[in-house]
Symmetry: C2
Subunit: 319 residues, 2 copies
């Protein structure tokens, strides 16, 4: 994968109409719409362009593409946003200062000034929070089948979770590993029916229901998991070379000073306006009804057009 | 274009989990999600599969496709929904009776029973409402450049309106016609900047601002338009062979008995629930912040998953 991007120049304060924080599907769609509307727009990304979707093996429910890999879809989004005139830069945002008609965006590579800001930072994988987990991240504990799956070719792995992500990634892993244990704390999956059916038909997947991981054990590499059956209370051990954790997401909103829910998701109205004028939010960092590519693109576009109208209004005030 | 669909069988009442009324981008995305979620789903369409987008020459702002024709994009949506298991049928819905846990969907080809219904009927072009217009529809008065443009190859036409549609379709028409007069009642366009710039650069387009059409004149075919300058009050005549009207849309919601705005758009919450349990709405028939493919797909998917949860809950009550 070739992701073109430049690093934000140091010690130089650039001025933009719109700064978009995050380059997932919401951020890149916002960039496409904002650039087409004539806003001088930059997208700031601290890690991988494409966000969560870039870590998704197969996307089957984005209309227009029967089946496409997450990274390939996000490459198309990126190319289209850049062709429309949006910049994409590497920088981690640490804070956004609201100076009224201007916002100061503080980043790891210097500050930027913007008339409007869209927060599209998405969310990050939740960890199990059990003994041994943190120490073994990258040594058998993983959060992305697409990224780390090939390391476990021919081996036995576990997937923890029961939603769409856990189920899809378990299926994906069977293409390379010997066996997948799908460990879920409930007695049935929460994934879409079509993914459940695919998983149940897959002979390489063994389901361990009503069960949680109590401990992750290993010296230099993961050796085994300690499991607990929630119905019987019984502990058992499961020897695996890898464990992929898909138990939900945490919104990346610590750095933003707008109204949020206790769980950290940003509160907006239906037009993506946050509690601070000129700051908008779109995508999985928002409090919302459904978290899907299709909802993120709509929110990104809506936030961009609202930002455009906000900036135009500021311009009107000045002249 | 090849649009596969069967006609709903007469005098036979079929039972579905979900009936989706309308096959535009909201309806087809809802069908994709509902079918994937395991709902027995039918989409009812009275006219052209793909709705308004099927009448759009060029789509440049649906992420994933730098440029694609509306009908081609909708063909991809349709194929994907059908591959997931959704049916698409020809029928015009005249009423939806709410029988509590069941809805009776009355159509031109017999009645259907459904547990849940999604209204995704979009909206239709508004007419000017001036003398001569109605009589000359199809005889020079048109609402779809893609459909009717080729009829005017080498001739002079007018486009009425100043938004995205009017501007885009004026540009599209220059590929075949001799000249396009863009008639707009204001002194500037409302279209996205990038479309405005393309239009201003196009030598075949002449702009007539501050002007409305007062009358459409012609015996068997359109001969000329009577124009009125709103600033001077002066009347003038413009000889054209065709006029394309792009002055907005009217929601297709007359047949639905749920809470609506005075303009006819359906009121929903953010999860696409209408005032009647089990009836959802998505897309341009809704009261909403922005009308774009990207917002329709998000709403269609959200309505489908809400309908799925509603139907699952009904099933739970029964057992």
């Amino acid at each position: 994968m070739r992701f073109r991007r430049s690093v934000l120049g140091n010690s130089e304060q650039k001025v933009y109409d719109l700064v978009i924080v995050g380059s997932g599907c919401a951020g890149l769609t916002a960039a496409l719409y904002a650039a087409r509307a004539g806003l001088k727009t930059v997208v700031l990304e601290k890690e991988v362009i494409g966000g969560q979707i870039s870590l998704t093996a197969t996307v089957e429910n984005y209309p227009g593409f029967k089946e496409i890999s997450g990274p390939e879809l996000m490459r198309l989004f990126q190319e289209q946003a850049e062709a429309a005139g949006a910049e994409i830069q590497t920088a981690e945002v640490s804070a956004i200062e609201d100076l009224g008609d201007r916002k100061l965006v503080k980043t790891s590579s210097g500050d930027l000034e913007a008339r409007a800001v869209i927060i599209a930072t998405g969310s990050s994988p939740r960890q199990l929070g059990v003994k041994g987990e943190k120490e073994l991240i990258g040594k058998g504990v993983a959060f992305c089948a697409l990224c780390d799956g090939p390391i476990f070719t021919g081996k036995d792995v576990a997937v923890v979770g029961g939603g769409n992500s856990a189920t899809k990634e378990a299926i994906y892993l069977t293409k390379m590993v010997n066996k997948v244990y799908l460990i879920h704390r409930r007695d049935k999956l929460r994934a879409e029916k079509s993914w459940q059916e695919k998983a149940f038909r897959n002979e390489k997947i063994e389901f361990i229901f009503d069960t949680v991981v109590e401990e992750v054990v290993g010296r230099d590499r993961l050796e085994k998991l300690v499991l607990k059956n929630l119905k019987t209370g019984k502990l058992s051990e499961l020897r695996v070379d890898g464990v992929f954790i898909y138990i939900g997401l945490k919104p990346n909103t610590d750095f933003v000073n707008v109204k949020k829910n206790p769980n950290g998701t940003i509160l907006t109205d239906e037009c993506m306006r946050t509690s601070v004028p000129g700051i908008f939010a779109a995508g999985d960092c928002r409090d919302k009804c459904m978290r899907q590519i299709v909802t993120c693109v709509g929110e990104g576009a809506t936030a961009a057009i609202q930002a455009y109208e906000y900036v135009e209004e500021l311009r009107g005030k000045k002249t």
